[in-house]
């Protein structure tokens, strides 16, 4: 202070005194809006720093929040994936149940049509293919009244006949088996023949005369002449009509029933039902 009082221009002292008085004024004066001028001045000076600090703080906070959110999203994603897997399994099970219900409903309709006493429902438990033989193993047997030579059908058509019976299971010879033979008739022209399996996916209709009227797409049904299969059950559709070979001609039939996907069947017990519209 002595140097300030004794040397040079008094600008520094003037500045100090004016500043001191200004600070005193600002600290005691409230502005029109009621805020302290000193506070206002300090806030004005500090505002940029406060804003920067706030921005940095909020930025860091935002980063942390986003990181935490990402972690939460990752966990939620994992949980949702597991949930999706579980729901997918449930949906598949539900779809399976729905399809099974549809099949069983068809079987029930068939059973109602044939009479409850005449039908035994059975589940296909195995498929056999030894050599050219095409057989099925079903989950009903003699205990349920199943016997040899009883026809096995599905809502779509004929499957085959029972060839072996045990108390709880039965073996079914499908119409695809080369050793099988089903008395058949063309629904449209009433041309008769015997349907014999070809072992793979088709059968052939034998004993069809060279002059018989046969076309691709004709429906082949059981004729009932073999006294095994009821009359009028659908066997399949004609897919190939060959040239005449001597007295007969080759007629290839694709079974209406997809034996590879068959799961439930009905065993027809005596008396054999007569299907409506089965022809004469």
């Amino acid at each position: 202070m002595p140097r300030v009082l004794s040397q040079g221009k008094p600008y520094l002292l003037l500045f100090l005194l004016l500043s001191m008085n200004l600070i005193l004024m600002a600290s005691s004066v409230r502005g029109v809006q009621g805020n302290s001028l000193l506070e206002g001045a300090v806030m004005s000076i500090a505002a940029p720093f406060l804003k920067s600090a706030s921005s940095l703080s909020s930025g860091a906070g935002g980063l942390w929040t986003r990181y935490a959110d990402l972690r939460a999203v990752e966990q939620e994603n994992r949980r949702l994936r597991a949930q999706i897997g579980s729901l997918t399994l449930e949906a598949r099970a539900a779809e399976e149940t729905r399809q099974e219900a549809r099949r069983l409903r068809d079987l029930l309709a068939l059973r109602d049509e044939a009479g409850q006493e005449a039908l035994v429902a059975a589940r296909v438990i195995a498929r056999g293919a030894s050599g050219a033989a095409r057989t099925l193993l079903i989950g009903t047997g003699s205990r349920d009244g199943v016997d040899v030579n009883q026809p096995v059908v599905s809502p779509r058509g004929v499957v085959g006949r029972v060839i072996e019976v045990a108390p709880g299971v039965s073996k079914v010879q499908s119409i695809l088996d080369p050793n099988s033979g089903v008395a058949a008739i063309l629904q449209r022209t009433r041309v008769q023949g015997v349907l014999v399996g070809e072992g793979e996916e088709t059968c052939r209709l034998e004993f069809v005369g060279e002059g018989a009227s046969v076309e691709v797409g004709d429906v082949v049904v059981t004729s009932g002449l073999d006294e095994i299969y009821p009359k009028g059950r659908i066997l399949g559709l004609v897919v190939t009509v060959g040239e005449a070979q001597g007295l007969t001609r080759y007629v290839q039939v694709r079974p209406e029933v997809d034996l590879r996907r068959l799961e439930e069947v009905l065993v027809l017990r005596a008396p054999r039902p007569e299907a409506p519209g089965g022809g004469s």
Partner: protein, 155 residues
């Protein structure tokens, strides 16, 4: 004039202004002894002590008059600097120039008040010209009297 004498003089100014305010308020409104003290100090003392004493006088006026602390301190400091600067440039030791300076303080005071009020966002009503003239006249006459008395006080 030593610092002690200056401080004593400032005390006397404070006492007189208070007495005037109590007993002769009309005179006190037209005569600012603190401004007269500031002009006297600024014209007779070096600038630094003058600035300090003027600032002290203003702060004392603020404290005693219950004004905003620092308002008169600021004004008196600035007044002392301006008068001291003028005194170093012009011959102001004659009666008429001194009267002019003392008269001008009456105008400087409301102008400074106005500027500071605007700066601080406060309301201020500028006094009428008649009031300013009366204050200038009062400051001038009382100030000349003060100069005359001070000149007769033995150092």
């Amino acid at each position: 004039m030593t610092i002690l004498r200056a401080v004593l003089a400032l005390g006397g100014v404070c006492l007189l202004q208070m007495l005037l305010g109590l007993h002769l308020p009309a005179v006190a409104r037209r005569c600012d002894l603190y401004s007269i003290f500031t002009v006297y100090i600024a014209l007779t003392r070096p600038q630094r002590p003058a600035l300090l004493l003027s600032s002290g006088a203003g702060l004392a006026q603020d404290a005693l008059a219950e004004a905003v602390l620092g308002l008169n301190g600021f004004k008196k400091t600035l007044l002392a600097y301006l008068v001291g600067t003028l005194g170093s440039l012009f011959m102001l030791n004659q009666t008429i120039p001194r009267f002019g300076i003392l008269f001008a303080t009456a105008l400087f005071d409301p102008l400074a008040d106005l500027a500071l009020s605007l700066a601080m966002g406060r309301h201020f009503v500028f006094p009428g010209i008649w009031d300013v003239l009366q204050s200038g006249l009062g400051n001038g006459l009382v100030g000349l009297l003060a100069f005359w008395i001070a000149a007769r006080i033995p150092s």
